[in-house]
């Protein structure tokens, strides 16, 4: 038995407080062993136990008619998409490892989230990445971008899951601590969903996949504190092997289809420790394992090290007794380990043996459900009021709006991301219906159903910094808007909540407000939160990142609702309208703006890029207005009247219009557009505020980022019908002009050839990155 001093020291290295340590002693009724301290340490880490965030996460709406598994019950959310099929999806962060070792950090982030999906019996069909880096003028940002993209590319491409979407933004707030959030989507017949619970006393517990080494030792604890300077954290980063993962996918899906498997869980954060205690606790049983039987790749590993290792591509599988040999043969066919390391027990204990010695014996529920919850103090950040102040009267208007437009189009956050997504295999599995960057959301065809699944990730850290409540709402609203732009009905949400240290009351205030914003928006849109993760301690020597909740959302393009009108009964059923893409299609089409433009420049990309300011209040999100816009878009999509749709986000209306002209490289198409209220009939598109008819500043009109707006186009003969439908949905609509020509003309302010717009947008990122094209 090690002495008390050593135990205290190990406890401290796991960030366990004295109070928590006393709680552990009380739970066990004795002093813990060294292995037990390690087990408690990783399981009580913020990464695994959500100690600071759990009380807030409980406030998310989680129920809905399509939700098949409640949030938190399994490793990912499950949504019914009809026809006997379900979608399994989840988003997870890998920020800390990526900051230290970007290639492996990002690669293992991809590997981990894929395992969460296929352990539920679902075939992974798509990946999306939400990335944040510092400005590309800084060599470290370029190094991190290069490494993260390589990591995602190396792993995702080899494992055969297409990377179909996501977003990337650059801001000084992420220069020390980049964000790497990966979302994976899987497809499973609803009756074949696998559980991450142990069951059946006496059933064998199998260890499956790669052998265990010292890599990633204590990664969960590492991810639960601020990053240190230098390379000291490097050994805590895991190494990924996509080849093993690919074999693991195939072997696992084959094994689950046989019915020989009771439960299964990935060994992700906190490896063997987390998977044994969580599956036991979920099943209300105990698990006894012998670490001496665990396949190893390093010599002389102690039980403490085996239990805490985060070696990749490993899983815990509970088989039906008597079927274990069949399961083992199946994994052997794919060249994978499958070793019986223990059994399911009746006593509710997680018992770890090392041969004949007992190294740990802990009630499984004490590690999971009974993990401590921290009531962190909450305080509004001191400098926020000052940051929110923005005196527009003192902000000079630009002289050349065309030049501003070109600058914004070339800014890496807005510019074309082909240089990144062309490094990802986005076509494998042959379901990618829309190429990345051609529509507001990724779209995959669902061959079994004859419909399409759409997915997006969104989040604006600058908005959340300036107003976390509105920023939280805005992230959900933009995700939903992106989905309706392709014609998909939003169904459900997964989220990655990236924040600074929870021990900072200002960070907890941001967190609380963001969660409230996300909750309110998800309630309004009827898109329940199905799961996700929280990443705290995103801080570097220069402070915390901007609070950045990333919302992953899925939606469905459904067959058109048939009219019940008997007169039309003889008509053949209309086909499902396909996904709507963002680019203008034909000369002469009408350019339409849906939604209201206000004088809102706070937190805009324009303010950051042109005036070098991060100030003001972000655009206010009117949830009722957003809902109306979503319903209108779905009605328009099902009628098939829209030829293109693109939401206004970073860079505002002018950038959105320009992108509609240039997003399809083979078909650049200009437009002649007027934003003057006098130039068109109908309700005004520009208002200074509710009720006021005052004209707003031209820069706010062109580059402001008011929420709830979509630029669309349709054939001229459909305009009246679209107007009628918009009025019925109470959505402001304006006909801005028409598609055509080789220039984008915006009143007297902007007249730029589309070639020039395209050049600025297409070369922006490669130039800042220093890539050869």
């Amino acid at each position: 038995m090690p002495d008390a001093q050593l135990l205290k020291r190990v406890a401290k290295s796991h960030n366990l407080t004295d109070e928590t340590y006393r709680h552990i002693v009380k739970t066990l009724g004795r002093q813990p062993t060294l292995t037990e301290v390690g087990i408690f340490g990783v399981m009580y880490s913020e990464h695994c136990s959500y100690g600071s965030s759990r009380p807030y996460l409980k406030t998310f709406p989680t129920k809905g008619p399509r939700i098949l598994v409640p949030a938190g019950k399994e490793n990912a959310g499950v949504v019914d998409i009809g026809g006997g099929w379900a979608v399994v999806f989840k988003c997870e962060s890998h920020n800390h490892p990526s900051a230290v070792e970007p290639v492996q950090g990002a690669a293992t982030g991809v590997g981990g989230i894929i395992r969460d999906i296929f352990t539920m019996g679902a075939r992974p069909i798509a990946l999306l990445d939400s990335l944040r880096f510092g400005p590309l003028e800084e060599p470290r940002s370029r190094f991190l971008l290069e490494g993260v993209v390589k990591g995602i590319s190396d792993y995702g491409n080899a494992v055969g899951v297409p990377t179909v979407g996501g977003e990337i933004a650059f801001d000084p707030a992420y220069r020390d601590n980049p964000l790497v959030n990966v979302m994976c989507i899987g497809l499973v017949p609803a009756r074949r969903i696998a559980r991450a619970a142990a069951g059946g006393v006496g059933n064998p517990v199998l260890y499956v996949g790669s052998s265990t080494g010292r890599d990633g030792l204590g990664g969960a604890s590492f991810a639960s504190r601020e990053l240190a300077d230098g390379d000291a954290d490097r050994p805590a980063v895991q190494i990924g092997d996509p080849f093993t993962e690919k074999c693991l996918i195939e072997a696992t899906l084959e094994a689950l289809a046989t019915g020989d498997v009771v439960g299964i869980q990935d060994m992700g954060a906190a490896g063997l420790t987390c998977s044994t205690s969580e599956t036991a606790a979920r099943g209300g049983v105990g698990i006894e394992i012998d670490v001496a039987r665990v396949p190893r790749r390093a010599e002389g590993m102690t039980p403490y090290e085996v239990m805490l290792s985060e070696s990749q591509e490993r899983m815990l599988l509970i088989a039906k007794r008597g079927r274990e040999e069949r399961v083992k043969r199946l994994f052997a066919k794919w060249g994978l380990n499958a070793v019986e390391i223990g059994r399911v027990t009746r006593d509710g204990l997680m018992r770890v043996r090392d041969g004949s010695a007992v190294a740990a014996e802990i009630p499984a529920s004490a590690l999971t459900d009974e993990a401590p919850v921290y009531r962190r103090p909450v305080r509004r950040p001191a400098g926020l009021a000052r940051a929110q102040r923005l005196l527009l009267a003192r902000l000079p208007l630009p002289k050349d709006y065309g030049a501003v437009l070109l600058t914004l189009l070339g800014s890496p956050t807005i510019a074309d991301k082909s240089a990144v997504f062309e490094q990802y295999d986005h076509m494998v599995q042959t379901n990618t219906a829309v190429l990345p960057g051609r529509a507001d959301a990724a779209v995959l065809r669902l061959r079994a159903l004859g419909t399409w699944l759409a997915a997006t990730t969104d989040g604006n850290g600058r908005f959340c910094f300036l107003d976390p409540y509105e920023g939280g709402k805005a992230a959900v609203a933009e995700a939903a808007r992106n989905l309706v732009c392709v014609g998909a009905r939003p169904l459900a949400v997964t989220d990655c909540l990236n924040f600074g240290s929870p021990q900072d009351p200002a960070v907890m205030w941001q967190f609380k407000a963001c969660v409230r914003g996300i909750s309110d928006a998800c309630r309004a849109f009827k898109t329940p939160v199905t799961g996700g993760n929280v990443s705290f301690y995103n801080e570097g020597p220069r402070g915390a990142i901007d609070p950045t909740p990333v919302i992953g959302m899925i939606g469905l393009i459904e067959p058109r609702q048939e009219t019940r009108d008997r007169r039309h009964v003889s008509r053949p059923p209309s086909p499902v309208p396909g996904p709507i893409t963002a680019n203008f299609k034909d000369e002469g089409d009408a350019v339409i703006l849906l939604g209201e433009t206000r004088e809102e420049l706070g937190g805009s990309e324009y303010l950051a890029m042109i005036h070098k300011r991060k100030a003001g209040k972000p655009p206010r999100v009117d949830l009722a207005g957003e809902s109306a816009l979503q319903q209108l878009m779905l009605a328009l999509a099902s009628q098939g009247w829209l030829k293109s749709a693109h939401d206004c986000s970073e860079g505002g209306l002018a950038v959105a219009l320009a992108e509609c002209c240039i997003m399809e490289p083979a078909r650049l198409l200009g437009a002649v557009v007027s934003l003057q209220p006098s130039a068109f009939p109908g309700p005004p598109i520009t208002r200074a505020g509710a009720g006021s008819r005052q004209r707003i500043r031209t820069d706010a009109l062109l580059f402001g980022e008011s929420a709830g707006r979509i630029v669309a186009s349709c054939a001229r003969y459909h305009v009246e019908r679209v107007e009628h439908l918009a009025a019925r949905h109470n959505v402001p609509m304006a006909v801005l002009g028409r598609v055509g020509g080789a220039h984008l003309r915006l009143d007297s302010w902007i007249d730029v050839p589309v070639d020039e717009l395209s050049e600025a947008w297409r070369t922006g990122l490669p130039r800042a990155w220093g890539l050869r094209r």
């Binding site: 690919k246 074999c247 986005h426 076509m427 042959t430």
Partner: protein
């Protein structure tokens, strides 16, 4: 016609090929496991894309030693149709069924995008449905697709080049060569013409819903060749 699609551990386009052959082309296609030796009576064999055996060591270098490859090599020598796509092309080179070698792309990055190809030969069992000089659009997705050969080999294989990377107007140019392949070679047949290796993925462009159906003609050419054999 019956197709056999070889499944190596790490293959990831095997299912896509099976789907296209079964559901789009409407023929029978069955998987052939790498550790088996039987081709299950297949009339043509497809080596699909992916990362066989993780592509550790060198792309395709380990796959060529698998039991199924001995049968594929015999089948090819007897005149059977063998189509190697992407990693399958790399394996054919490693196995010596096609001349030359594959290097990393000149940009040292993985590239996934549609490219334009010129069909150089229409008298092969894989291209009889195309017109001479026709340009087609197919996607590529690879990190090691830069075809290389020594001067002597290059001279010898000139007549065996089936696809070249080209501009939309059909002209070969450096700007249209995505990976630095010598002579812009994207696809190459053996002397007899019954073995074709190509870096672009025809199975990813066999339906209009996915942006191009040009790839379909490659499989349909194989049907045509089989019907007239």
């Amino acid at each position: 016609m019956k197709f056999g699609v070889v499944v190596f551990p790490g293959s990831n386009c095997d299912q896509d090929c099976l789907d296209v052959l079964n559901d789009v082309i409407g023929q029978r296609a069955v998987p052939l496991w790498h550790q088996e030796t039987s081709l299950k009576g297949a009339d043509a064999v497809v080596l699909p894309g992916g990362f066989s055996y993780g592509d550790y060591l060198r792309t395709g270098a380990i796959a060529r030693f698998s039991p199924i490859m001995r049968s594929v090599a015999r089948f090819a020598r007897e005149g059977g149709l063998v189509l190697g796509i992407c990693n399958g092309f790399q394996i054919l080179l490693e196995a010596g069924l096609l001349p030359g070698a594959m290097l990393r792309n000149t940009g040292l990055r993985f590239i996934c995008r549609f490219v334009t190809l010129r069909v150089e030969r229409t008298d092969t069992p894989f291209t009889n449905r195309f017109e001479a000089g026709q340009t087609i659009r197919l996607p590529i997705a690879h990190n090691e697709g830069r075809y290389a050969a020594d001067t002597k080999t290059l001279k010898a294989v000139q007549g065996q080049v089936v696809f070249r990377y080209c501009k939309e107007d059909g002209r070969v140019a450096d700007a249209a060569n995505p990976n630095g392949s010598v002579d812009a070679i994207a696809g190459l047949a053996n002397e007899r013409g019954n073995v074709l290796g190509m870096m672009p993925h025809p199975e990813r462009a066999a339906e209009a819903a996915l942006g191009s159906s040009d790839g379909r003609l490659i499989f349909e050419s194989m049907l045509e060749a089989y019907a007239h054999a």
